[in-house]
């Protein structure tokens, strides 16, 4: 043991002896009531604090639940509804010919179209 340790040991032992001489009687200590029981006021304060904490928790849960329900009420986006923003570039002139059967326009007198009409001797 170094001199430093001896000195510390001496001081600590002196302190311990002083503390031990002030120790309470064992039997009295075992049967006594704790000196600082929770007072009624403290119990009420603890209960109030616990009740307030519960109320705050319930309120937060309710608000968060309502927000979650509101968010989930919006209609979901369908994947099939999506359109490319550059889709119009594929819409070139005449591209409808690729998707439709072309039709020839018929003039109003289309019924006589194939028969030549006499031009001589016909009064104009």
């Amino acid at each position: 043991m170094t001199p430093e340790e001896r000195e510390l040991s001496r001081l600590f032992e002196a302190e311990r002896r002083a503390d031990e001489s002030a120790a309470p009687d064992l039997d009295a200590l075992l049967v006594r009531r704790p000196r600082r029981p929770r007072s009624a006021g403290r119990r009420i304060a603890l209960t109030t604090a616990a009740a307030l904490a519960s109320l705050v928790t319930v309120a937060v849960l309710l608000v968060r639940g309502a927000a979650h329900r509101a968010a989930s009420a919006e209609p979901p986006l369908q994947l099939a509804d999506w359109q490319s923003p550059t889709d119009f570039l594929l819409d070139t002139p005449g591209s409808e010919l690729l998707t439709q059967i072309p039709t020839l326009s018929v003039p109003p007198d289309a019924g006589n179209a194939g028969v030549p009409q006499p031009t001589k001797g016909v009064a104009r």
Partner: protein
């Protein structure tokens, strides 16, 4: 009371004064809190809530129960302080006043010890005041012997550096 309880009480009686000194050290030298902690610790042992398995000496076991009970009481005080906004870490000034009538060198030691971290305080008290070995002190604090040795050496050198200028002055 069973025979076992009688034996336990006899052991407690044998170590009662040292247990009180240890409880004081665990409770920041607050006599009132130390008595409460000591009473709770004894009742835990006698009621069977804390069981002595015989793996260590009864002194190591008793001091471990006192330390754990003091920690529980401290946590409870902190928790209720957080709820109610009034935690008094300094203990009860009234119950400290009587203890302050100690010799100046002991007061200097207490002041120096209070500046140390809790683990270092505890290990130095167990080794120097209670005469425990580092192994016993480690068992009491539920830490490894390596940690106990580290806390012991750091605490000892810090304490020596704090105390030496005072002793010169």
């Amino acid at each position: 009371m069973t025979a076992n309880a009688s034996e336990l009480k006899a052991e407690i009686e044998r170590l009662h004064t040292a247990g009180f000194a240890w409880a004081l050290a665990c409770c920041g030298r607050d006599r009132e809190r130390a008595e409460d902690v000591l009473q709770t610790s004894y009742l835990k042992i006698l009621d069977g809530r804390a069981r002595f398995a015989g793996r260590s000496s009864f002194k190591t076991y008793l001091f471990g129960v006192i330390r754990r009970t003091a920690s529980e009481e401290r946590r409870r005080a902190v928790l209720s302080g957080l709820l109610l906004g009034r935690y008094r870490n300094e203990g009860n000034p009234g119950s400290r006043a009587a203890a302050d009538a100690a010799p100046i060198e002991i007061l200097a030691l207490r002041s120096a010890v209070e500046s140390l971290p809790r683990r270092q305080r505890e290990i130095l008290h167990l080794v120097f005041a209670m005469g425990m070995t580092l192994r016993e002190a480690a068992d009491t604090l539920s830490i490894s012997i390596g940690s106990a040795a580290r806390h012991y050496h750091r605490g000892k050198s810090r304490l020596a550096s704090v105390l030496s200028p005072r002793s010169r002055g």
